[in-house]
């Protein structure tokens, strides 16, 4: 458990967080708000796509993102010996 070990653990953690936050932004502020009108041109079943992302899709993605993070971090903890 050296200092440099802690540093590179933190670096990898930040990288995961940034990637996941990118998708967080993309589905909610992106698909659900900024690109809503464009996506509404497409339909799945009775849903206009932008509307679907705003009221359904983004929420599903949020749940998946957290569980991906949990999985990645558990692996990272093991790799650095922080898994106690």
């Amino acid at each position: 458990m050296t200092k440099s070990n802690a540093k590179s653990y933190w670096k990898e953690n930040i990288r995961y967080v940034l990637i996941l936050m990118f998708f967080w932004f993309l589905v909610s502020f992106g698909a659900g708000i900024l690109f809503k009108d464009f996506l509404n041109e497409f339909k799945i079943g009775g849903f206009k796509l932008g509307f679907w992302f705003a009221q359904q899709g983004s929420i599903y993605v949020f749940v998946i993102l957290i569980f991906i993070y949990v999985h990645l971090m558990n692996k990272l903890d093991k790799k650095y010996g922080y898994d106690v």
Partner: protein, 574 residues
């Protein structure tokens, strides 16, 4: 036989069913409270710190889903259409921030409250005091709304006076929050999650089958109508809405920048709400904190993805039931809700029909947001026991959130103010007594506001998020991710953020500082969305002041390095 049985069930009546279901659920809550009494401050504040991730996830979900989520949200969406997405995304997206940016580190830090973190990380009692002030401000605005929800349900379904309803609710919460502290609250919240989710889903599934033939409401509201095959429900609702002069349901009418700002403010506010954050202090390890954030959001998402479906069903049903129908032949539920003042009908053109249209001059019907979920099963003609179940669910939602907030209030007073600032030598027993007494006082204050709601309660509940966003979020994020962040920066940032938010909210909500209308909003951002702006200003001020003042002591920088590593989380300590 089956027929006799169902006749028997029908014969019991809505009111008796409500007594039965509310009675059973309340007995369960009280039973759990007696079983899980807290005997130490650690049990009172963080349930002993050994709650499993699943139980914590369920408790967090119940804690989070308030009377607003259960009763009001689907109703608001039902009237706002697409714009309702701000609540759906805002109140779920915040959990991503919590899981990725806050929960693991705060758990590692291992204290009892949010002001504890702020006070220690910024090595200053001023910071602690500002944080206590913000926590109390946020929690009180929020809790008054919960007591009001309890009163509303009692008055409609048990036909008791709304004040009696509030008092019954107070006694129940008092009982398990004061006796059980966080430990009692956690396990009652687990039970309350089960009650509230069952109560929300059952009618939604029934109505979904009725209208679209699909038992999954999330898919049903994008499906075709049973009565009119080949026509999508949403297309039909868009048509009905435009016929009556409303905006198309799937388009909405708020400006893009305001939708963006409100969503952001709600997300960040969610992540900054003290009663949610404190739940992550109750688990054993850092990895449990991450996992329980995921479980919490999964459980919350069940309700949050169903709510927009309920909104569409309720809106369509309501328009079809009342629009252009003779007032004399309206169904029973209409008259009952009219008696509570939440439905109002004025026959402006004296034709005896109900004209429900967007144009205010000709509109004859006013329907309160709050009744859509409660009245929905009646509008859809579902059996009595389901209607009563919704009442029990709404009570579970309101009570679980009220209890969580009361705990934040009492621990802010007994732990952060008394133990950490006024009398550090207080004994364990003394602190526990102080915690219980402050819970009693908090319940009474909340009850008072429930009975005498100041006109601004409804308006300020949404603003509690703005306040949390403008105060806590930047201070906590910078405290974890920026080692060099110092007390001067954080404290100034919090103060300026909260003051700006209070200024904007009182200016446009209560008409102080010269007031103003929609046209005067800065950048077209509503008070509900202004938390985003105040938060950004908080960040800018914090960072600027930090550059001008000296860096934090080495010992504090070491604390920050330490919370980033998930091992040796130990137990939450003083």
């Amino acid at each position: 036989m089956v027929m006799m049985y169902s006749l028997f069930l029908e014969g019991i009546g809505i009111q008796n069913w409500t007594y039965i279901l509310v009675g059973i659920t309340f007995s369960i809550y009280i039973g759990i409270a007696i079983w899980s009494r807290a005997s130490s401050t650690k049990e009172f504040y963080v349930a002993g710190g050994g709650v499993s991730p699943l139980a914590n996830g369920m408790a967090t979900a119940a804690d989070w889903m308030s009377a607003a989520s259960f009763i009001s949200m689907a109703g608001i969406i039902s009237f706002a259409g697409y714009d309702g997405a701000v609540y759906l995304m805002g109140w779920t997206g915040g959990y991503v921030l919590l899981a990725l940016l806050l929960a693991p580190y705060l758990r590692k830090f291992g204290k009892f409250t949010v002001p504890d973190f702020i006070g220690d990380r910024y090595y200053s009692n001023t910071a602690r005091f500002v944080a206590v002030f913000c926590a109390l401000l946020v929690s009180f605005t929020y809790v008054a709304g919960q007591m009001r929800g309890v009163g509303l349900v009692f008055s409609r379904f048990l036909e008791v006076d709304i004040n009696t309803g509030v008092i019954i609710g107070m006694i129940i919460v008092l009982f398990y929050a004061v006796l059980g502290g966080m430990k009692g609250i956690t396990y009652t919240q687990v039970a309350q999650y089960c009650v509230l989710i069952f109560a929300f889903m059952v009618p939604a599934i029934f109505i979904s089958i009725q209208m679209t033939g699909n038992p999954i409401p999330q898919l049903g509201f994008g499906g075709e109508l049973v009565d009119e095959p080949g026509i999508y429900l949403l297309d039909k609702l868009d048509g009905l809405s435009t016929d009556l002069g409303f905006a198309e349901y799937t388009e909405g009418s708020k400006s893009l920048i305001d939708v963006f700002a409100i969503t952001l403010a709600l997300m960040v506010g969610t992540a900054g709400l003290p009663h949610v954050i404190v739940r992550f202090f109750t688990v054993k390890r850092v990895k449990d904190a991450r996992k329980s954030a995921g479980i919490a959001l999964l459980l919350i998402a069940v309700l949050y993805t169903t709510a927009p479906a309920v909104a569409v069903f309720a809106r369509t049903n309501m328009i079809e039931t009342v629009s252009n129908q003779p007032y004399n032949s309206v169904p029973d539920w209409f008259k009952k809700w009219e008696a509570t003042g939440l439905i109002e009908y004025f026959d402006k053109n004296n034709d005896g029909l109900i004209q429900y249209v967007a144009d205010e001059k000709n509109n004859e019907l006013i329907v309160d947001n709050d009744i859509m979920v409660l009245a929905n099963p009646e509008i859809a003609k579902l059996p009595n026991w389901i209607i009563a179940l919704v009442a029990a669910g709404a009570l579970a939602a309101a009570l679980s959130t009220a209890a969580g907030l009361l705990l934040v209030i009492s621990s802010s007073v007994s732990h952060d103010l008394i133990k950490k600032m006024i009398n550090p030598n207080i004994t364990e027993t003394g602190e526990l007594l102080a915690a219980r007494l402050s819970a009693v006082v908090a319940v009474c204050v909340a009850g008072y506001f429930g009975i005498n709601p100041p006109g601004f309660v409804a308006a300020t509940v949404a603003l509690a998020f703005g306040l949390a966003a403008a105060s806590f979020f930047p201070a906590i994020i910078l405290g974890i991710f920026y080692k060099k962040m110092n007390k001067e920066g954080a404290v100034t940032g919090m103060i300026i953020g909260v003051l700006l938010m209070l200024f904007y909210m009182t200016k446009f909500k209560f008409g102080w500082f010269g007031g103003g209308t929609k046209d005067d909003w800065w950048l077209g951002i509503s008070p509900e969305g202004f938390g985003s702006v105040a938060m950004i200003l908080n960040f800018i001020v914090s960072l600027t002041i930090m550059k001008l003042t000296k860096e934090p002591p080495k010992s504090v920088q070491e604390i920050v390095e330490n919370i980033r590593i998930p091992i040796d989380a130990g137990k939450a300590t003083h």
